[in-house]
Amino acid sequence: AQKVTQAQTEISVVEKEDVTLDCVYETRDTTYYLFWYKQPPSGELVFLIRRNSFDEQNEISGRYSWNFQKSTSSFNFTITASQVVDSAVYFCALSEENRDDKIIFGKGTRLHILP
């Protein structure tokens, strides 16, 4: 069965610190997509990244980076030099069979960036 676990319920860091959000997933499929979404207080889910299960290259986008390790079924997200605007709930998610038909979300990690 599919499952996404975000063990960190809530994290607080001081502005400019680096922070890593952990994500562990379970799936029996060999083909799947992994996602990260950001949910600010306004409630809208903002798409951050989608990673194909066959592409294990790490990705960097500005202050954001993602570490995908198939061997440990993990897809961790790091924010470098955090800013107050990064405060939000972050969701890791999974969909199987290389389609976005049904996305399974973790419970989210609430990130507080303190000024």
Partner: protein, 114 residues
């Protein structure tokens, strides 16, 4: 380019009532998915509509039903509301024919059942 829009923003109903939520997909998208997000939880997949038909369904009772119109917009209907139906309802759209596309979410409708 308009993103996914949802209406209404907020809604208050009482137990036993029925509610209809609406969603307009992002321009160019033809597939609409609905999710329920209870407080403090991640979104849970309700169902997906494509070509005016329900294509996939999550673990939700038949009280939850939907519809997709020829212009790709969609409605989510919930009958016989329960207190536990209080949640943020999110709509997401995508283009089924585009393999590299992903789902984009609307701002949600917050439903409170009293």
């Amino acid at each position: 380019d308009a993103g996914v829009t949802q209406s209404p923003t907020h809604l208050i109903k009482t137990r036993g009532q029925q509610v209809t939520l609406r969603c307009s997909p992002k321009s160019g998208h033809d597939t609409v998915s609905w999710y329920q997000q209870a407080l403090g939880q991640g979104p849970q997949f309700i169902f997906q509509y494509y070509e005016e038909e329900e294509r996939q369904r999550g673990n939700f009772p038949d009280r939850f039903s939907g519809h997709q119109f020829p212009n790709y917009s969609s409605e989510l209907n919930v009958n016989a509301l329960l207190l536990g139906d209080s949640a943020l309802y999110l709509c997401a759209s995508s283009f089924v024919g585009h393999s590299t596309d992903t789902q984009y979410f609307g701002p949600g409708t917050r439903l409170t059942v009293l």
